[in-house]
């Protein structure tokens, strides 16, 4: 049981940070920025390179996340901001194109193979009945800290309040003296940092390779949408709901019910289960699970 809970948390953590990054950026820059998942690829690669050069891992990771944050801001100012003027669909396709370019660069510089950080594999330890490794704990701790920090900023600081105001009505925010462009830069930076950190946490537990980005698109979008696009903290819960479905679908043995020893849902349908849950959830909560915005006609 505790293994199940642990798996759930771990799986949630896989996509939560990147989904939060996507959703946070969406709240102000109204288009689903596919480049976010590529930020999650660049982050670990930069960390890897910096660590190879001789920097301590933590320093490398910090530098890499900041660099990705800056990259996100620059891309936003030079590309997405322009495209967005003609609509969100255009900006989204533009972000896809940026993703291709990122892949091209990584393909030339890093090649298509998997790599991993030079940490010794720690043997799993028993933690309340679950098998846990130190790297997994680190990864979870890092993600939780980042999410907590982001939530605190969003809800308990002036800049957080400005973000929410700008998200609600950018023109009015400017009319109340809020530097909407500045706020957008801040949130874009934050989303770059979160996405990069998400990628680093992910590759801390496993590998890093140039496919991380594209592979993340579907799960990250699913989580962000389920949580309600533009509602960053909802994305965490969205990720958790998907993880829960998958963990339950994969590990429930239906065999005893039908008088057989083992009868599992075939693993090749697990992905489909989480998509089915997504559709079902949306049918009952059409604007995402965790949005309670009042809509007046």
């Amino acid at each position: 049981m505790s293994q199940l809970v642990f798996d759930l948390v771990l799986r949630t953590g896989d996509v939560a940070l990147v989904a939060v990054a996507l959703s946070a950026a969406y709240s102000l820059v109204r288009f689903p920025n596919i480049a976010t998942v590529y930020y999650a690829t660049i982050g670990p690669f930069l960390t890897y390179v910096l660590a190879r050069v001789g920097l301590a891992f933590w320093l490398a990771a910090a530098l890499a996340t900041v660099a990705v944050g800056v990259l996100a801001v620059v891309l936003n100012a030079t590309v997405f901001d322009r495209l967005l003027r003609s609509g969100s669909a255009i900006a989204m396709i533009g972000s896809l194109a940026v993703g291709m370019l990122v892949t091209a660069v990584l393909l030339v510089t890093a090649g298509p193979d998997s790599m991993r950080f030079a940490f010794a594999l720690s043997p799993p330890q028993d933690l309340l009945g679950a098998r846990v490794t130190a790297l997994q704990l680190w990864s979870m701790g890092l993600s939780s800290a980042a999410l907590l920090g982001f939530a605190l900023i969003l809800f308990f600081t002036d800049i957080g309040r400005c973000m929410r105001a700008t998200a609600a009505n950018a023109d009015l925010a400017r009319a109340t003296g809020i530097d909407a462009h500045g706020v957008i830069r801040v949130i874009t930076f934050a989303s770059g940092v979160l996405a990069a950190l998400g990628g680093i946490c992910l590759s801390l537990k496993g590998e890093l390779n140039i496919l991380m980005g594209p592979d993340l698109i579907l799960p990250v979008f699913a989580a962000a949408i389920l949580g309600g696009l533009g509602n960053p903290l909802g994305a965490i819960l969205g990720a958790a709901v998907i993880a829960l479905t998958e963990v339950i679908a994969a590990s429930t043995n239906f065999g005893p019910l039908l008088g057989q020893a083992f009868l599992f849902l075939p693993v090749n349908y697990i992905g489909a289960t989480s998509f089915a849950i997504l559709v079902l959830a949306l049918l009952f909560r059409p604007y995402g699970l965790f949005v309670n915005e009042v809509r007046r006609v």
Binding site: R161, A167, A168, L172, R174, A175, T176, E293, V294
Partner: protein, 238 residues
């Protein structure tokens, strides 16, 4: 206080909406802009606020040419309170949050004191402090927007049809409040109004726009007293 000379402006790459506007508001004055629908009143107010870029001409506030100053800096540096005509609340935020956003630039200690005194002025909002702004009725939103603009005690107040959608009592109260504030703080007020009679009765001067040009500029009492103009520009019904 506000000085607009030869202002031409429009949206995107569309045609000019304002064709050379000259307008002046002196410190402590209440000035009303009247005119038919679509003549460019809101556009003028938006240009002064910085939401529409001038194509020609000059906009100065407190003597400073603000043509190139971005909105948020104009608002902050010249302590402007702005109430747009539409979309004038933060829908996803609560009534209290909406108002507190207006108070953001005040010192932290003053913010809540002002908030509570404002709540006394607007009992209609006090009862709905924690309601989301998107749930408010049309009139309640209008009040909320005015309250948000007033809380920081601005030097200049730009109001775009503050009375639209307000019930007769409320409308009286809003205009009374405008007069009171001016007496208390000497605030400069520029407003666009369709309810000409009420607006003129609290104003010092008025401009009447027509097709993006200033058609008339007169002291408010004179305009109010002129029956032909009244019939032409603010309705036979008045």
């Amino acid at each position: 206080m506000i000085e607009v000379t030869g202002l031409r402006a429009g949206y995107g790459d569309g045609p000019d909406i304002l064709h050379g506007i000259d307008l002046r508001v002196f410190a402590g004055e209440i000035v009303t802009i009247l005119g038919p629908n679509g003549c460019g009143k809101s556009t003028l107010l938006k240009a002064i606020g910085g939401f529409v870029e001038p194509r020609a001409g000059r906009i100065a506030i407190e003597g400073e040419d603000v043509g190139a100053v971005p909105v948020h800096r104009r608002i902050r540096e010249h302590r402007i309170g702005f109430v747009p005509q539409t979309d004038n609340v933060f829908r996803t935020m609560s009534v209290a949050e909406n108002i507190m956003l207006g108070a953001r630039l005040l010192p932290a200690r003053e913010q809540w004191a002002r908030f509570f005194s404002l709540m006394d002025t607007y009992p209609a909002l006090a009862g709905k402090r924690d309601r989301r702004a998107s749930a408010l009725s049309g009139g309640e939103r209008q009040l909320l927007s005015v309250a948000r603009a007033l809380i920081a005690g601005p030097t200049v107040l730009l109001l775009d049809e503050p009375s639209a959608g307000l019930s007769p009592v409320m409308m009286d109260e809003v205009f009374d409040e405008i007069v009171r504030i001016r007496e208390r703080t000497g605030m400069t007020i520029l407003m666009v109004e369709q309810n000409a009679v009420q607006a003129l009765s609290v104003s010092d001067r008025a401009y009447v726009l027509s097709l993006g040009r200033v058609a008339i500029e007169q002291p408010a009492p004179e305009l109010l007293a002129n029956p032909t103009l009244a019939g032409l520009y603010f309705g036979a019904a008045a």
